[in-house]
């Protein structure tokens, strides 16, 4: 495995430049070359893009084929749904096959709502920060001594990697129906399947006497296994047709609409149902050329230990917290962003350590042409009463600005 070379002097703001290398491994043709995938520069795994380039950067380059991405939904399921749509749209643009399962909306409705790709993406969209305004020495923002740095952004907040992988989408338009039709899509809508589910006999309880999974989960796993086997993603078909990747999107697993009372009760009767499903799903993914994105309404789950187990069973886990409807909406600290993003877990695939940007305070903003994830930076606090203890935690830092710690500030500077 060749070591990735670091390109010196490429990044102005990144301290870790491991992801900003333009190194492309020269592939011997033994590796499968599937459109829309590429080998990762860190560990050589085949990775696909999640559809959002900033999210790719934050989880270490992309989503490895055969792994599972968990997204903990925000309170009104707006941004997690958007991420699911980005994921599926990326599949359509790259030519992958899609599998969508939902208990709430029909999969064809979800496919029709996909954002349309911005297809002239040879030139990257212009970053917002460097607007070339005409040099005006009388303007209030112009600097008289350091004027060469006038147009540079004050803080390097945008995260990006140098080699482009993935596409950009325009959220205000939906994808052309022709492009959607060209993509092969398998759907699983639970109310349509529940008629067949209720007629089949309930599975017998397991030998240990624990309650079985709700029939919805069993039906989902069976359907998925059947699709994977029939379409040959697990290598069952002979090598006549070219290989492709199956993108699986499962919307709102664990919610009450799947028949699971994980979100409704403090002590759910099928406590292990969702974890068993994720375990079975991961087994299916590891043995086939597929990648899955699962959204879970974690804000409804009362049992925190269960949420920990669910996170452990998925490979990559990302939690979204949106400011909409909460009191944080009016906080001036967060006025540029729509919510916070927390990377809970990243897998170590065939390696001991994974390389990630080390900043943990990330915030996202959904713009029309881009879903940006940026480092949340606080402006330096120059008031006298602030205490200069450096510690992490945004809430603590936000509070420090308005209240003084310890004794009242010294009003006299004595030398």
């Amino acid at each position: 495995m060749a070591a990735p070379s670091k390109s010196v002097g490429k990044s102005t703001g990144d301290r870790l430049s491991c992801n900003t290398t333009s190194f492309q491994k020269k592939s011997r043709s033994k590796l499968v070359s599937i459109p829309g995938t590429r080998p990762s520069v860190q560990n050589g795994q085949l990775i696909v893009s999640t559809g959002v380039t900033s999210l790719d950067y934050v989880i270490g380059g992309g989503l490895a084929v055969g792994t599972l991405l968990l997204i903990e939904e925000d309170r009104y399921d707006s941004y997690s749904r958007m991420l699911l749509k980005y994921f599926l749209a990326e599949g359509v643009v790259c030519g992958h096959e899609l599998y969508v399962a939902s208990a709430q909306d029909h999969p064809s409705d979800i496919i029709q709502e996909l954002p349309s790709p911005i297809l002239d993406d040879i030139a990257s969209p212009k970053p917002v920060e460097s607007q070339t305004k005409p040099c005006d020495p009388e303007g209030p923002d112009t600097m008289s001594i350091a004027w060469r740095y006038q147009n540079l952004p004050k803080v390097q907040t945008a995260l990006a990697s140098s080699s482009r992988f993935g596409h950009y989408y325009d959220v205000s338009k939906t994808m052309d129906p022709e492009i959607c039709q060209a993509a092969r899509c398998h759907g699983f809508y639970l109310p349509e399947h529940s008629a067949t589910v209720s007629s089949s006999p309930a599975p017998p309880p397991t030998a240990t006497g624990q309650s079985p999974m709700p029939e919805a989960y069993v039906a989902l796993l069976k359907n998925l296994q059947e699709v994977i086997h029939r379409e040959g993603f697990d290598g069952s078909l002979p090598q006549t047709k070219s290989r492709n990747v199956l993108r699986i999107g499962l919307h709102s697993l664990g919610s009450a609409l799947w028949g699971d009372d994980l979100c409704c009760r403090d002590n759910p009767s099928h406590g292990h149902a969702l974890t068993t499903l994720l375990y079975g799903l991961r087994a299916l993914l590891r043995s086939s050329l597929s990648v899955a994105l699962v959204t879970v309404p974690s804000h409804l789950i009362q049992n925190k230990a269960l949420m920990g187990r669910i996170t452990r069973l998925c490979d990559t886990a990302v939690a979204l917290e949106s400011f909409r409807g909460s009191e944080r909406e009016t906080n001036p600290l967060y006025k540029d962003y729509h919510g916070l993003l927390n990377v809970c877990q990243v897998p170590h695939l065939n390696c001991l350590v994974c390389d990630l940007p080390d900043n943990k305070d990330l915030a996202f903003k959904l713009k029309r042409k881009q879903f940006t994830i940026e480092r949340l930076h606080l402006p330096p606090d120059l008031s006298e009463t602030v205490s200069r203890v450096s510690h992490g935690g945004l809430a603590g830092a936000a509070m420090l600005g308005s209240s003084g710690c310890g004794s009242a500030g010294n009003k006299h500077l004595d030398f």
Binding site: P137, S255, E384
Partner: protein
Amino acid sequence: MLLEVLQGTEAGGFILLQDTVSYSGRHLLKSYISTALKRLHFHNAYSDPLGWTGNSAFTVHQFTLEDVSTLIKQTPQAKAVTLVIDSLSWILRHHDPAAVCQRLQALKKGGAVRTVIVLVHTDMHQRGTVGSIRHLATSVVTVAPGTRGLGAVAKTTRRTKSGKLMQDEETFSINEDLSVTIHSKLSHPGHTHVNTDETEVDPTANLTFNLRLSDTERQAKEKLALPFVFSKEKKSALLQPGPGSGRILYEPDANDDYDQEDPDDDLDI
């Protein structure tokens, strides 16, 4: 926004009315029924929910899409039906909360009814159950007793189809004829940080040395010619992102001796 939500009749809407033991939401529900609905068909599932007497009008097991649709078809001239459930809490006592959520979703999407309005007593259920039902709802109205004795407070959250979220908090009271009067709209409850009124202390005051500039000193400072100060055109030329290659721009200074002649011309090699 409370009145808009109660009178709004968008198709596929699911309005959830939450109350607690300190203030009952049934009055609001009754006022809605009296003002907004034209014809009321009442199905009594309270007297005999489990069908023990054998001839009950509506049992709790009939709360499914098929049975509700047949009930609606039996009533004459049924179009744009609004289903009002006084107290989903009684249904939640008999059924699994996940099953109730699935049936509510089926009713919402089924097309048999246009709007579903549901009253839930939040004290009677676990937080997860109420949360799951809230997750399904398009509008949520939470009523609580008013603090200043004027009436009750209603917090309304409304989610439109495009994903926009609107919130409002209003004080209202219900009159004798079951109409709702909105007293005041409380301002959006933003938690503003209370900025304590500390005057910014000027650090340049009370020092043993002088850090301030007098006016003449300031003018002299501004008149000082800085090195590497270029003309405006040159600055803007430098600030535009060029083709990327480096260029050397040389402007001879006053001290430079820029002689066009090659000084080595007289060398004879």
